[in-house]
Amino acid sequence: MTIEELRKIAETEREAEKKYQHHVCVCTAAGCLSSGGDHVLDAIRKEVAESGMKNEVLVKGVGCMGLCSAGPLVSVESEGKMFANVTPEEAADVVSSLDTGAGGPQDCPTNVPFFARQKKIVLENSGKIDPERIEDYIAHDGYLALVQTIAERSPQDVIQEIIRSGLRGRGGAGYPTGLKWSTVAKTGEQEKFVICNADEGDPGAFMDRAVLESDPHRVLEGMAIAAYAVGAQKGYLYVRAEYPLAVKNLKTAIRQADRLGLLGNSICGSRFSFHVDIRLGAGAFVCGEETALIASIEGKRGTPRPRPPYPAESGLWDSPTLINNVETFANIAPILRNGAAWFAGIGTEKSKGTKVFALAGRVTNTGLIEVPMGITLREVVNEIGGGIPDGKKCKAVQTGGPSGGCIPEKQMDLPVDYESLKSIGSMMGSGGMIVMDETSCMVDVAKYFMEFCMSESCGKCIPCRAGTQQMHGILARITAGEGSPADLVLLEELCDLVRNTSLCGLGQGAPTPVITTMQYFRDEYDSHVAGAGCPAGVCAGARREAEEVAK
């Protein structure tokens, strides 16, 4: 494959699309699929065929458009229109609205802050291209970065570009991507691996799934460029088995890229070869930790091991291994296409680019969003999220999943970047963002996350295995109305111990929800242990206790 050949595929695809007067895109990613997006797609296809408009209307199934709560979504690109909550019965309305320009199902305005305030890099193709067709990806500048890189750039040059872009790991910890790449590149070993961590285990997070389902080739392209830069020949995509559609689309994508010579042996006629294989996760949260993930690919129980040595030096089968997250890989092609300076111009001083969040919980617009780093949490919740429904007040925003913290409403003017979120005790995390209103009890939320960590603890190190059990026991006691002020002291001690002595990120992060809720919502804990009940009215046990005290 040469650049000319690639451009020709893109040109042919664009010409073919231009022949159609109308482009109707139906979201068939998991969010809309669960509300019947596939049936809507079939119905619209049938309607178009029956009304004899097959040569005028292009109907395609696309990836996530973001506003999952209003799904299934249908967008008519040619007219800049979007319809929400579409049912198969409304297919005729969609089709008839094409020519008349009027009517159609429930309108979903696209000039509202939910869409207007976003900045899309990772999700630029999501909701626009058919994820099952490599030609559609190529028509949107896909694989251009890979082909150009192999033809024109040295591996060192690529790494320098990534370093200059300021890209940091999107898995949550924010380690500089370029630095990681150069560590792997510097090792003299013959055999190296590239792994894409798509074991998105945080409850309430579905960013990676959306990217894999909506634009799988972008991730493959990022992985191939990374392999070229660090000198790896083999790549693994470690995906959750719970994401069947993502796995299916990835398998299709790998096959297509292989066929066009964009993956496989001597890519683009060069001496660079790169093979990608999929490995299915099996529902262990701890496998998101890199050394546990490596153990799992090796066919073992997914337990972490102490670092160093870091996987960059000794990883999969003791070979140097580069592990990046899905979203990190998805950023690579745009950076190389548009240049490091372009990317570094977006975001804040230390956090460049954008971040994808799965916005959910007690907020009007739930779904997938991509925002520039540095936007405030308040802007995200009130403008993009459309505020809290039912006239309730926002109480807290939880970022970073079970290892992250609860950020109180009064801190919401904080910009979203790695350092700011860390400074108030939370973390960027992989991108789950759960909004909570007054109906949520923060002690109950802390218990929820602790229960998660307790059952997901792999059991290898004692602080995590026993500590999460004990902390959960105390929290359960408090929410049952049987806690005492001494429990809070003990809880704080345990948090400190588990955080500082656990082997991996799971244990080290497990106390964070407790620490942040105790820091910002201490009054709720006090109320539970003083027999004054649960202020939010969630913990039935605490309420009963309070009633007895009142008597």
Binding site: A30, G31, L33, S34, S35, L67, C68, S69, G71, E200, G201, D202, P203, G204, A205, F206, R209, A241, E242, Y243, R279, L280, G281, A282, G283, A284, F285, S296, I297, E298, G299, K300, R301, G302, A358, A360, G361, R362, T366, G367, Q398, G401, G432, I434, M436, T439, S440, V445, Y448, F449, F452, C458
Partner: protein, 168 residues
Amino acid sequence: MLTYLGSPQLPSDDKRWKIVEATARRHGRESHALIETLHTVQECFGYLDDSALKFVAMTLRVPLSRVYGAATFYHYFTLKPKGKHTCVVCTGTACYIKGAPALLGAIEKTYGVKPGETTPDNQLSVLTARCLGSCGLAPAVVMDGAVLGKVGAEQMLARIEKGIHHDH
């Protein structure tokens, strides 16, 4: 120590074992194919029983203890057969704060089964999911593969009843 040269005998002449065999073969019977092979078994048979674990151990030439270790470590694998119908309640954060505990409570009250259990008549298995990723539809329930979004307890119970009685 199990030392087998060549491929071990299939546990029965059930054709599904050949699919399992094929997965092992595709990975060159290397021990790192363990999880992939267990996935295939579960896909074919719905769960992992003793004969399956033993067969996988012999095929990949790994100790049975390691196969058992992996099968019990990963939540996705189940050693027990499921009931005729399955109802999965999502307990992800978004679903949790929007009422998943109440949904589980309603199921327990009506059918007397907790998450991970199956009704004595083998009709319904109740499971929980860490997160379905359908947070926009919270709280979400999957009944026999169909997702019910923004669901209330009564609506969910009606759907479960419908699913069970559909067969009769």
